[in-house]
C-alpha cells in the first residue's frame, strides 16, 4: 500500500506542487492543511505516514505545529519546507524533532529523496 502524506502549506500553489511531485513518486496524498492548527487536527484524524510542513503560515506556524504533532506521536515524521534564508527556523524545527527539510523552489528529486529517506529510516 502506498504511504500516506499530509501536505501543509498556506499557499494552494505550493500544495499543488508538492502534491504532484509526491503523486508522481507513488505516494498517496491523504490530506492537505493550510495552517498549523488545521495540520494538527488533520494529523489526529488522518494519521499520515509523513507530513510536509511549511514554516511561515498564519494561525499557527510550522514549528509550533511540529511540536504539537510530536506531542501527539513522538515518532511522527515531518519534513520542513523552507525558503532560502530561513536557516535559523529550520534548525529550530529540526531541534523540535522534524526529520528533514527541503528548500523552495522544490526540485522533484530532492523532495522525493527526502521523503524516501525519512520513511525508510
Amino acid at each position: 500500500m502506498a504511504k500516506t502524506v499530509l501536505i501543509v502549506d498556506d499557499a494552494a500553489f505550493m500544495r499543488m506542487m508538492i502534491k504532484n511531485i509526491l503523486l508522481d513518486g507513488g505516494y498517496e496524498v491523504i490530506g492537505e492543511a493550510e495552517n498549523g492548527k488545521q495540520a494538527v487536527d488533520a494529523y489526529k484524524e488522518l494519521q499520515p505516514d509523513l507530513v510536509t510542513m511549511d514554516i511561515t503560515m498564519p494561525e499557527m506556524d510550522g514549528i509550533e505545529a511540529v511540536k504539537k504533532i510530536l506531542a501527539i506521536n513522538k515518532d511522527a515524521k515531518i519534513i520542513m519546507c523552507s525558503a532560502m534564508g530561513q536557516q535559523a527556523m529550520v534548525i529550530e524545527a529540526i531541534q523540535a524533532g522534524a526529520v528533514d527539510f527541503v528548500v523552495k523552489p522544490f526540485k522533484p528529486d530532492r523532495v522525493l529523496e527526502a521523503v524516501d529517506k525519512a520513511l525508510n529510516s
Binding site: A83, M84, V90, I91, I94, D100, S121
Partner: protein, 654 residues
C-alpha cells in the same frame, strides 16, 4: 604545472605586499594600541594571507595566519589588550610567515617547524578564553587537537566495547541551507554515540561559516560501516570517511601523553577535495566568449539540416556538450552575493551610530549566486540604498517610540532567485517616502506640472526619486540628501539589464526591489520577424504571445489597445518602433496578428510583429561604441545562418 607556477608567482608577489603591510601596521600599533583602523588593517592583511595560503593548500601557513588572525580578532573585540608581549608575538608571527614563504620559494615545501610558535599562540588564545574552548581551532582543519579536557571526556565515556572514530563528512556542493545540514550531521552523530568535538564547532556550522567538510571525533559502540551508513543516509551528504583512532583510546587512558591526531589526519588527506585555484576574471570572460562563439556555430550547423543519420548524431552530441559547457562556465562565474553583503552590517552600524539611531540590519539569502561581473557592480547601488534607508528612512529612537514602533529600526536585505532573475530587496520599517513632497519638488524643478501630477498614481510619483538632482531631504548631510544617488542606482542597475522598483507607505516603510538577470552573456530569446528582418526579444521580458484579430483592437484616446483578461493593454507596431521604412498600419489588413506581450515593471505593452519564429539561446554581443545610442536596440546576436539579428531593448518600448 605552468599555470600553477603562475599562481605561485602571484602568491609570492602578493604575500610580500601583505608582509609589508603587516610589518608597518604592527609597528604603528605599538604606539597607538587602541587605534581600530590599524588593528583592522593588520587583521585584513592576515586574513588575506590566510585566504591565499588556503587556496594554495599551504597548510602550515594557513594554520599560522589563522591563529594570528584569531589573536587579532580578540584584540579587536577588546578581549585581549595590546601589550608589549602581544606586539612581540605578532612580530615573531610575521617573521615566521616570511620564513615559510621563503621556504616555499626555495623548495616548494613548508620546511620550517612552527609548532612551537603555534603552541604559544594557542596558549594566548586559551588564556583569555578558558570559558569556551570551542572557539579554539575555529575553522582550522589542520590542528584537530584534543585538549586534556576532551581526552578526559573520552576516557570517561569509553567502555571496552567502544571505539574512537575520526569521521570526515563531506556535504554535496549543491547542498542547500548548508548550516542546517551541518546541524543535522551533528545531531545524527550525537544519536550514534558521544560526540567529543567537531571541527568546525557547532556555532560556526550554524553560522554557515565553513566549507563542505565537517570533522567529528565520536565515541561509539557501533562499527565503522554502521556509522558510515547512518550518516550517508542524511540527504546531501556526499561522502563519509571513518577512521578508527585506537591510539587515542590508549592515549586517553594514558593521560599525560599529549599527542595530536594530526598523524591520522595524514591518512585522511588522500580524500581531500580537489584544490581550488584563483583565476583572473578576464580569462573567464574569454572562456564565456568562446563558448558563445561555439554556440553560434552550433546553431549555424543546425541550420544546415542535412538529412543524414551521422549528422543528426553529431548535432545531438554537440548540443549536449555545448549546453554542458555553457552550464559549467556559468557556474564558475557565479559567486554568492554574500561577498558584498558582508560589508554592509559594518556600514550600517557606523552610520546608525553617527546619526544616533538604532538599526538592526537583517540579511537573508546571502548564499544566492549571481554572475561575478554583476555582483561587482552591485555594491555601490546597494550601499546608496542602505545609506538612504538609515539616514532618511529609519527615524530617531524617540520618534519611533512616539509612533508606537520599536525603538530599533529594522532593515531587511534579502536576495533570492526567481526564475531566471535574481531579486534583491531592501526594506526598512521607517518613515516612508513623502510622495507629495516629492511631487512638489518635481514640479518646482520643472520636471512636470501640477496637472500631470494630478493624474499620476503613487507609483508614478515615487519614480521621481530616480531623477537626478532630486531629494526630499531639506538639509544636506554628509550621508545623503544631495540628490545624487538614486539616479545613479537606477542607471547602474539598468546598465546591468535590471530594473528597480520602489514601494513606500507613510510610517510603514520603504522597499526597494532590484531585479537582475542571472547572467549578461547568454540568454533565451524569442525570435520574431518584422518586415523580413529577424529580431530577438529576451524571454525574461515577455509575459506571453498571442494571435489577435483586427476586430479585437479598440481605440482609447487615439491609442490602439486590446483587452486581455480584463486589463487594457496598449499595442504598438514593431515596424514603427524600430523606424523601419515601410508603410505602417498594414497589420490591420491581416486576419491574424501576432502580438508579443512585453513586461516592464508593472506596465505591459503588446508589440505587433509580422511573424513569431522560435525560441533559442542567443549570445548577446554589444553593438560597440558607435551604435550605442540606437533607439530600442540593446545589442545584436548571430543566428543560425550566420546573419546578425538585433536584440530589442524592450524597456523603452514598454
Amino acid at each position: 604545472m605552468d599555470t600553477n607556477s603562475q599562481y605561485l608567482q602571484m602568491f609570492f608577489d602578493e604575500s610580500a605586499e601583505y608582509l609589508q603591510i603587516l610589518n608597518e601596521n604592527v609597528l604603528m600599533l605599538e604606539d597607538n594600541p587602541d587605534d581600530e583602523e590599524i588593528i583592522n588593517a593588520v587583521f585584513r592583511a592576515a586574513h588575506s594571507l590566510k585566504g591565499m595560503a588556503a587556496t594554495m593548500n599551504f597548510s602550515k601557513l594557513t594554520n599560522l595566519t589563522h591563529k594570528i588572525e584569531n589573536i587579532l580578532d580578540k584584540v579587536r573585540n577588546k578581549e585581549l589588550h595590546i601589550t608589549e608581549d602581544i606586539i612581540d608575538l605578532l612580530f615573531a608571527g610575521i617573521d615566521y610567515i616570511k620564513t615559510l614563504v621563503d621556504d616555499l620559494k626555495k623548495s616548494g615545501e613548508e620546511v620550517t617547524d612552527i609548532s612551537g610558535y603555534v603552541e604559544k599562540l594557542t596558549r594566548y588564545l586559551d588564556g583569555s578564553y578558558q570559558s569556551d574552548d570551542n572557539n579554539k581551532d575555529r575553522g582550522s582543519q589542520n590542528s584537530f587537537k584534543l585538549t586534556e579536557k576532551e581526552k578526559k571526556q573520552i576516557s570517561l565515556k569509553l567502555q571496552e566495547t567502544d571505539s574512537v572514530y575520526q569521521i570526515k563528512v563531506v556535504l554535496k556542493e549543491d547542498c542547500l541551507l548548508k548550516n542546517v545540514r551541518g546541524y543535522m550531521v551533528l545531531k545524527k552523530a550525537q544519536e550514534l554515540g558521544f560526540l567529543v568535538k567537531s571541527n568546525p564547532p557547532k556555532d560556526t556550522i550554524e553560522d554557515e561559516d565553513f566549507g563542505f567538510e565537517i570533522y567529528l571525533i565520536l565515541v561509539s559502540s557501533l562499527n565503522k560501516e554502521k556509522i558510515r551508513e547512518e550518516l550517508l543516509n542524511i540527504v546531501d551528504v556526499e561522502e563519509v570517511e571513518c577512521l578508527n583512532l585506537d591510539f587515542v583510546k590508549k592515549e586517553a587512558k594514558d593521560e599525560d601523553n599529549e599527542k595530536t591526531v594530526n598523524r591520522s589526519k595524514k591518512n585522511l588527506s588522500n580524500f581531500e577535495v580537489s584544490p581550488t585555484v584563483r583565476v583572473d576574471i578576464k580569462k573567464l570572460d574569454n572562456l564565456m566568449n568562446m563558448v558563445g562563439e561555439l554556440l553560434i556555430n552550433k546553431t549555424r550547423l543546425e541550420g544546415l539540416k542535412i538529412s543524414s543519420e551521422i549528422y543528426q548524431d553529431i548535432i545531438q552530441q554537440l548540443d549536449r556538450v555545448t549546453m554542458e559547457l555553457h552550464h559549467i562556465v556559468m557556474q564558475i562565474r557565479m559567486v554568492p552575493i554574500g561577498g558584498i553583503f558582508n560589508r554592509f552590517p559594518r556600514i550600517v552600524r557606523d552610520l546608525a551610530k553617527e546619526l544616533g539611531k538604532e538599526v538592526d540590519l537583517r540579511i537573508e539569502g546571502a548564499e544566492t549566486e549571481l554572475d561575478r561581473s554583476i555582483i561587482d557592480e552591485l555594491a555601490d547601488p546597494l550601499i546608496h540604498i542602505l545609506r538612504n534607508a538609515v539616514d532618511h528612512g529609519i527615524e530617531l529612537p524617540g520618534e519611533r517610540e512616539k509612533k508606537g514602533k520599536n525603538r530599533t529600526g529594522t532593515i531587511l536585505l534579502k536576495a533570492y532567485q526567481k526564475g531566471s532573475e535574481i531579486i534583491i530587496e531592501v526594506e526598512d520599517d521607517g518613515t516612508g517616502i513623502n510622495v507629495d513632497q516629492l511631487a512638489a519638488k518635481a514640479v518646482e524643478m520643472g520636471l512636470t506640472t501640477h496637472e500631470e501630477i494630478e493624474s499620476m498614481d503613487e507609483r508614478e510619483k515615487l519614480f521621481f526619486i530616480f531623477h537626478p538632482g532630486l531629494s526630499t531631504s531639506d538639509e544636506v548631510t554628509d550621508i545623503s540628501g544631495r540628490g545624487v544617488g538614486m539616479d545613479v542606482v537606477k542607471r547602474i542597475v539598468e546598465s546591468l539589464d535590471g530594473q528597480v522598483f520602489i514601494e513606500s507607505e507613510k510610517d510603514v516603510g520603504t522597499r526597494f526591489t532590484i531585479s537582475l538577470p542571472l547572467t549578461l552573456a547568454i540568454t533565451q530569446a524569442l525570435m520574431v520577424k518584422v518586415n523580413q528582418e529577424i529580431f530577438a526579444i529576451p524571454l525574461g521580458a515577455i509575459s506571453e504571445t498571442l494571435m489577435i484579430n483586427p476586430d479585437d483592437i479598440r481605440q482609447v484616446r487615439g491609442q490602439d489597445v486590446i483587452v486581455l483578461r480584463d486589463s487594457t493593454i496598449p499595442i504598438v507596431e514593431g515596424a514603427r518602433q524600430l523606424n523601419l521604412e515601410v508603410e505602417y498600419g498594414n497589420f490591420k489588413k491581416k486576419a491574424e496578428i501576432p502580438v508579443v506581450i512585453i513586461n516592464s515593471g508593472e506596465r505591459q505593452v503588446g508589440l505587433i510583429v509580422d511573424e513569431l519564429l522560435n525560441q533559442q539561446e542567443i549570445v548577446i554581443k554589444s553593438l560597440g561604441n558607435y551604435l550605442v545610442n540606437i533607439k530600442n536596440i540593446s545589442g545584436a546576436t548571430i543566428v543560425g545562418d550566420g546573419d546578425v539579428a538585433l536584440i530589442l531593448d524592450v524597456r523603452n518600448i514598454a
